[in-house]
Symmetry: C2
Subunit: 137 residues, 2 copies
Amino acid sequence: MGVDLKAPIKVYMTRKLIGVSPDDTVKRAGEVMLEFDVGSLVVVEGRDVVGFLTKGDIIRRLVIPGLPNTTPVREIMTTELVAVPSTTPLGDVLDVLSKKGIKHILVEEDGRIVGIFSITDLLEASRRKLETAIATE
Amino acid sequence: MGVDLKAPIKVYMTRKLIGVSPDDTVKRAGEVMLEFDVGSLVVVEGRDVVGFLTKGDIIRRLVIPGLPNTTPVREIMTTELVAVPSTTPLGDVLDVLSKKGIKHILVEEDGRIVGIFSITDLLEASRRKLETAIATE
């Protein structure tokens, strides 16, 4: 598939971090997820990433307990951020995702969050390379 | 990665279809998704698959409109089922997912739903093959 497990994760991550404020409602966060077709958002306060929110977090912490969609993001976001350095090989990142049972991970450089990687990014990277290969046949 | 784009999708799909009833509440469906760690469920009535429910459907049709978690699954499930024959090559299936902007697809054999394929299955298949390769080095 043209995917190199030894390549650094920065090759496969996306730099397009979609952010919401911790004071935004979960309704708004859901709308942003659908608008940008992403399964996770970073929660940003000032210049800092203070949390992370996935569709799974919304199911687990809002839908199941039956909280209203006006609940602020800060009440259900994940504050323990999982991040890997941007030089980490893809294979090692897949290992972390698999062991932790997660589908998205933040990528850092010099202590700053610079990107995010999800399994979907890998699919898209594979497809792009595949299409390139077909186009140059 | 040891992933063969020409192999039939039945090699990569999972036969473990996790089902709920159309009369189950969305709260229950969310609990089942978390319990089995899946992003989608088939909705089963008698022996028939009558619908499909993803985390995205729950965000779009329950969380954003602010419906209660006691809403029955049948009110927010997707009834237009997207399925491919089990002999379809993986590469073609990835194409369908990409074009339709979806992450899960049903797999059929002789007009019956026999499995489901998601991007996560591909990751797991890649990892299993990778681990096998490492173990036999």
